[in-house]
């Protein structure tokens, strides 16, 4: 069964490219443009195997999104990856504290992305 | 007057991830309280997480401490068999619960 992945990023370009890479590998994807939209979507989604979220987003940032998502019984243990840039080393820790499973450092290659996705979602 | 020994079969379905661990523990606790033998059937399980495996180990420990028998049975999926082998829980591929029961590392007598 194909794994389902939710991608949250305010940059459509990033979202689309991640979607593209993941679809190529047979993953099913859903997109949200910020944390708030994602939080609103979560209860309606079914069987999400992984969430990939950006950190800096309008409305609801990635860290707050993770905190909120972890409060929902359905998403208590869902793997969550944080998209971050190296200049934000502290965000990795913040993300982990909030309940993230790991992180992906931007910019990343398709292989890197897939490697990390396999690490946490398979 | 002896009662007829009671059996309880537990056969969870699908990918048994961490979210399945706590409910499974509850189910097993209830089963241990009310039966003479508890059977865990792998047939419907597609995948297994470490958390769930730990629950099975714990159930075995409980069985050793008490009078309830606890056994593994049913066909073990390819995925589960491979995962357990890679992580060192078994030396050889085990495709049935019975085989698993005989080969799981430290499964039998780790309690002091």
């Amino acid at each position: 069964m194909a794994k389902k992945i939710l991608i949250i990023d305010d940059s459509a370009a990033i979202r689309q490219s991640i979607t593209y890479i993941l679809n190529q590998e047979g993953y099913e994807t859903t997109e949200a443009k910020d944390g708030q939209e994602a939080i609103d979507m979560l209860p309606t989604l079914d069987g999400i195997d992984l969430i990939i979220t950006d950190v800096n987003m309008p409305n609801l940032d990635g860290i707050s999104f993770i905190r909120k998502a972890r409060e929902l019984a359905k998403y208590r243990f869902t793997p969550i990856l944080v998209l971050t840039t190296e200049s934000q080393g502290t965000k990795m820790n913040e993300g982990k504290e909030a309940g993230a499973t790991g992180w992906i450092v931007k910019p990343f290659s398709a292989d890197k992305l897939l490697g990390i996705v396999r690490k946490v979602a398979e | 007057m002896k009662k007829k020994p009671t059996q309880k079969l537990i056969a969870p379905e699908g990918a048994l991830g961490i979210e399945a661990a706590s409910p499974l523990r509850q189910e097993l606790l209830a089963a241990f309280a009310g039966s003479d033998e508890v059977l865990f059937d792998f047939s419907l399980a597609e995948d297994i997480d470490l958390a769930v495996l730990q629950v099975l180990y714990a159930a075995r420990r409980s069985a050793e401490l008490g009078t309830v028998r606890f056994s593994l049975m049913g066909k073990v999926s390819e995925k589960i068999s491979r995962r357990l082998q890679v992580a060192g829980f078994t030396r050889t591929p085990c495709r049935t619960g019975e085989e698993l029961e005989a080969s799981l590392v430290d499964y039998g007598s780790a309690t002091k």
């Binding site: 990033i14 200049s87 990343f108 946490v120 | 661990a21 958390a51 495996l53 730990q54 409980s62 890679v86």
Partner: protein
């Protein structure tokens, strides 16, 4: 493949840039507006983050500098000036140019880039004392990392890995078995799980990771690749990776021989067949199977044996590993032995003092130093950072505040503070209880907080720090503080205090520690389950610790646990009453004074003395413990700090400092109030360790000192 999205990025960046322009212009009008600063930062950040992904590395590097400054302006470490607004606008325009220029910017564009970067860096350097050039170099180092030798399969090395995932890793969504699979993808890998921490069902926390592994992996990938497997959980897990140095080379060469030997020993193959098979460069087992000289099962069985030998051998050759695993009961034994040594040393130094032989004194002193080093070392082996338990509390706060409809966060401090392993284990439950109590009774509902002019979300601050031979663990909330009127009313209702009792605030606060006390108006799932703070207090007492409580109505409650670093050895003052030896924990001793026995008798009715200008109660231990015989003409009073008050204990003789090993009390003494343990002196005599806090409380309640013995006896 990502190039397909270049256009899409370009459009998006254009949009962001025009937005940024508006924001920067508005910032000129409202320079400090945090909303605007955030928006500007976010725009630059997004452009930077995405640029590199779509091949616009030049933009990525350039925007990095701009982003850095904006981040610092927004956090207040750099000022927002008109000069910067101009610079930022110019930079924005330049990003547009770079965007249009695609991958190959001409020399003119590059010159402009350097010019602006210089200006940006100058601004950053001027604006703040500490300019970190390292941040500007980040893109370069990253480029290095990404060109990390993709095809460079190094020489195969054998690694030994010990991997103990943090107990909380499941809760962050980590799939541990998957990580081991990833590890096995790096090379030839054999994992040995340890499951002995998994308890029976009833005691199992199904969401705690209780399994750990030892693994042997032969891989051409470097140590970083192996460590990278665990990168997401490395902070909360124990991971030790060691190269199996010469042993590895030895094993590599000997492996075929050994397998061959096993097969030979078992009479399965002949020497000639093995020698022939060894000529080929392939694995011996494979060759032999292929030639139908042995069955696959036979080889496999031999391999199991070989692996076993390997394991045994590796345990002996423990060269490379950064850490070793030791059964904790062995450690306990070591601590016991060190304790005996410490005791014996105390006796030696006393004997040496009596003999006054310079040679012996010298040896004794040296011995003393060595033994205290040995003691510290041994104790440090048992020390663990308390932070490992903090995550659990975070979880408690999160789950509970949700359940109670409150909004609270846990802030932690001093996670690196180390404490004896047993102490940490025993602290878990009391701390959970205190934190729950804070959330339940302390932190107000969001609406009430807002009404009181507090931030909507409450904070519970959990901190740990060293203080001498103690660790102070503090749980402070910014909640409503103790409701003293309610506490008093409840205490009255429960018959804990009599009607009309006029208690100072401090003593009212202490009432919450009284057995069976609970102020919750409704019985929530959380507190009010019958177990109250009295249980917490009892548990902390059993650790030899104390609980201090400070509360201010309206602004919060702070509970401080003062816990001894270790349970096993304490420094004490050895005293004598009649023929009995007692040890007073040195950390609570304030001082000693002499007293004539007639003064003790004279003041017997009141039992008050003056000490450093303060009136203190005192109690003759002789009477308290019903010791036989008469007190000497001159007795000593040991003044101790108990909880928040001082008290003196009259003893016959103060013998001196004494390091002692605590042993649990035997059945005989278990019910005697005021004792916390026993110790055996160098000559085999038993000394009892005074529980200063309990003793002082017991004295307060029962100043006559009668019937101090055996609470359980019917005549008590």
């Amino acid at each position: 493949m990502i190039d397909g999205f270049k256009e899409s990025f370009r459009e998006e960046a254009e949009e962001l840039l025009s937005g940024l322009e508006g924001i920067l212009l508005e910032l000129e009008a409202r320079p400090g507006d945090p909303e605007l600063l955030n928006a500007a930062f976010r725009a630059v950040h997004t452009i930077k983050g995405s640029a590199g992904m779509f091949g616009f590395e030049a933009i990525g590097r350039f925007a990095h500098d701009l982003e850095n400054i904006m981040d610092r302006i927004r956090s207040g470490s750099l000022p927002m000036t008109k000069g910067f607004a101009d610079l930022a606008l110019a930079s924005r325009d330049h990003i547009r140019t770079l965007l249009a220029a695609d991958e190959a910017p001409g020399p003119a564009v590059e010159a402009r880039t350097s010019e602006l970067v210089e200006a940006l860096r100058a601004y950053a350097a001027k604006g703040a004392r500490a300019f970190e050039p390292e941040s500007a170099e980040a893109p370069e180092t990253r480029a290095d990392a990404s060109t990390e030798k993709p095809g460079s399969e190094g020489e195969e090395t054998v690694w030994r890995l010990s991997f103990k995932p943090g107990e909380g890793v499941f809760r962050s969504g980590t799939k541990v078995l998957r990580l081991l699979e990833e590890l096995s993808e790096l090379g030839d890998c054999a994992c040995f799980p340890h499951t002995e921490r998994i308890p029976e069902l009833g005691k199992l926390d199904p969401e705690a990771c209780l399994t750990s592994w030892d693994a042997i992996i032969a891989s051409g990938k470097g140590p970083d690749a192996i460590k990278d497997v665990f990168i997401f959980i490395e902070t909360e897990s124990e991971i030790a990776l060691g190269k199996i140095e010469e042993a590895a080379i030895l094993q590599e060469r000997e492996e075929p021989k050994k397998l061959g030997e096993i097969l030979l020993e078992r009479g399965i193959v002949t020497r000639a067949a093995i020698d022939e098979a060894l000529q080929s460069q392939r694995r011996l087992g494979e060759v032999l199977v292929e030639k139908k000289l042995v069955s696959k099962e036979q080889v496999e069985s031999a391999l199991v044996e070989q692996e076993h030998l390997k394991r045994v051998q590796e345990r002996q050759v423990d060269t490379g590993a950064a850490s070793i695993r030791v059964a904790s009961d062995k450690l306990d034994q070591l601590v016991d032995l060190v304790g005996e040594l410490v005791t014996l040393q105390a006796r030696l130094s006393q004997t040496a003092l009596g003999i006054q032989d310079p040679g012996l004194t010298g040896i004794s002193e040296m011995f003393d130093r060595l033994i205290s080093q040995l003691r510290d070392n041994t104790m440090s082996i048992r020390m663990l950072p308390i932070g490992s338990t903090f995550n659990k509390f975070r979880r408690v706060v999160r789950d509970l505040s949700l359940e109670l409809g409150k909004d609270a966060e846990l802030a932690t401090e001093g996670a690196e503070t180390e404490l004896d392993k047993t102490v940490i284990e025993k602290l878990g439950d009391p701390l959970v209880h205190i934190i729950r109590n804070s959330l339940d009774h302390g932190i107000e509902r969001p609406a009430d907080r807002l009404a009181a002019g507090k931030p909507r979300s409450g904070t519970i601050r959990l901190s740990a720090m060293h203080s001498g031979a103690y660790v102070l663990i503090q749980v402070a909330d910014d909640g409503a503080g103790l409701d003293r009127a309610a506490i008093k009313a409840k205490a009255l209702e429960r018959g804990i205090i009599g009607p009309g009792a006029d208690l100072p605030d401090q003593e009212i606060d202490q009432l919450i520690f009284a057995p069976g006390f609970s102020t919750a108006k409704t019985v929530t799932k959380v507190s009010g389950r019958g177990v109250g703070m009295d249980v917490v207090k009892r548990e902390i007492d059993s650790l030899g610790g104390t609980v201090l409580l400070k509360s201010e109505r309206g602004s919060g409650t702070t509970m401080t646990l003062k816990i001894p670093l270790t349970l096993a050895i304490i420094e004490g003052l050895l005293v004598k009453v009649a023929d009995e030896f007692y040890v007073v924990p040195l950390s609570s001793v304030d001082g000693c004074i002499e007293i004539r026995s007639d003064e003790v008798a004279e003041r017997d009715g009141k039992r008050i003395m003056t000490y450093r200008g303060e009136l203190l109660p005192f109690v003759p231990l002789r009477a308290w413990f019903d010791s036989p015989g008469e007190a000497p003409a001159i007795s000593q009073i040991v003044i101790v700090n108990a909880l928040e008050s001082r008290i003196g204990f009259v003893v016959d003789q103060v013998i001196g400092d004494y390091q002692t090993v605590v042993k649990p009390l035997g059945r005989l003494y278990r019910n005697v109030r005021g004792l916390s343990g026993a110790t055996i002196l160098g000559d085999g005599t038993v000394a009892l360790i005074l529980d200063v806090n309990r003793l002082s409380q017991a004295v307060k309640r029962d100043p006559a000192g009668r019937a101090a013995r055996d609470e359980a006896s019917p005549d008590a």
